[in-house]
Symmetry: C2
Subunit: 223 residues, 2 copies
């Protein structure tokens, strides 16, 4: 049954593991071979004790006095997160945001492969987004019966978000990264993660005004 | 002192308030005048009891049997979140993502006004991003002494994220929305919210593989 906690890694732990992984990929690019938990804290902002605790949850990773092997740690975390093999991804919404997401280098580095891009705008269908032809979203069920992608990125306006979601689920998608500014109704077998800039900005605004009222004397030094 | 809880609204409540607000702005565009908590649940995915509880925290909003006035509720939530007046925002990073963010219509709707765009790439400086000239990031301290923006959106690669952050803070920025795939070191007077697609995708991947292994018989109906 979805939602059960047996053997599941808690979401905050998953989020931290993904943060470590992103950092480790960067280190590997820079040909760094070993790291200490103190360096992880310095670079990711997650404290060293938390890092060691997260890893100990999955078995013994580091060597006392030597640190952690970057490549080994990267492979193990990728395996825990189940991203050690290529994952096919559908993108719906070929607007500015969709375009930025498809072009984001981090996706390929983490073996997310955007295999098809869809839109409902006839002015866009048939044109290219990066190296992919933009396809008619009404064909998503037909086309994903061959592509068999389980993950979709939703970068459409609120008005079409639920309708597109219903089609994606019918096509076999089981995980949706939602950039549309609205909640999605999905069955229990489908998992959704919402990304909202406006929500994040609102949280910042609130803290900002609060800081201004109470903390007071934190005026910046003028350069 | 930052981090104290006196009189502060908890972050999950702020996030839900921002979700309601986004939905209310859409309703206002569609000329809807009143809503029920059941409709809020249907559209945002946040349950009706939670919605009523969140609002009761700030005083009495709804009328029994009539529902909530859309415009009134919108204004009140904006006031709680302190986004009832225009907020100036700096964007650093005029790449694909930065461009998509500046062009996002929801920003203006919520009175976030991107007043300047910065980059460190000489090929970009002097060119336009939408209607804004791209400025040299090394001038941010000088220019923000006039602009006086307190919020910045950071859409730069990991390698330059910390250096740019330090300049932003020196320029008077107190709140950062961070799209760079790395943690930022900031003083207590500065608040950061991190947005990571890869992290969200990793959480989805994990749940997906877990669902596949345990839930088993949830194969999609083929169309």
């Amino acid at each position: 049954m979805p939602g059960g906690s047996n053997g599941r890694v808690p979401v905050p732990t998953l989020e931290r593991l993904a943060t470590y992984l992103r950092y480790l990929v960067d280190l590997q690019h820079d040909h760094v071979e070993t790291i200490s938990s103190a360096e992880v804290e310095e670079q990711t902002g997650i404290n060293a004790a938390q890092f060691r605790k997260d890893l100990s949850y999955f078995g013994d990773f580091g060597k006392p006095g030597v640190g952690y092997n970057v490549l080994d740690l990267q492979n193990r975390i990728a395996r825990i997160l189940k991203i050690d093999q290529e994952q096919r991804v559908l993108l719906v919404g070929a607007g500015n945001l969709g375009s930025a997401l498809v072009g984001y280098p981090g996706l390929k580095e983490h073996r997310y492969n955007v295999v098809a891009v869809f839109d409902n705008n006839f002015a866009k269908i048939g044109r290219k987004l990066w190296d992919l032809e933009i396809l008619d979203v009404s064909r998503v069920v037909e086309l994903n019966s061959h592509l068999r992608a389980k993950i979709a990125i939703l970068a459409v306006p609120r008005a079409s978000a639920q309708h597109v979601t219903d089609m994606l689920i019918e096509s076999g998608v089981r995980a949706i990264l939602n950039f549309a500014p609205t909640g999605l109704r999905v069955p229990d077998s489908v998992v959704v993660r919402n990304v909202s800039f406006l929500q994040e900005l609102a949280v910042l605004s609130y803290h900002l005004s609060h800081e201004g009222q109470e903390a007071g004397s934190t005026e910046p030094a003028e350069a």
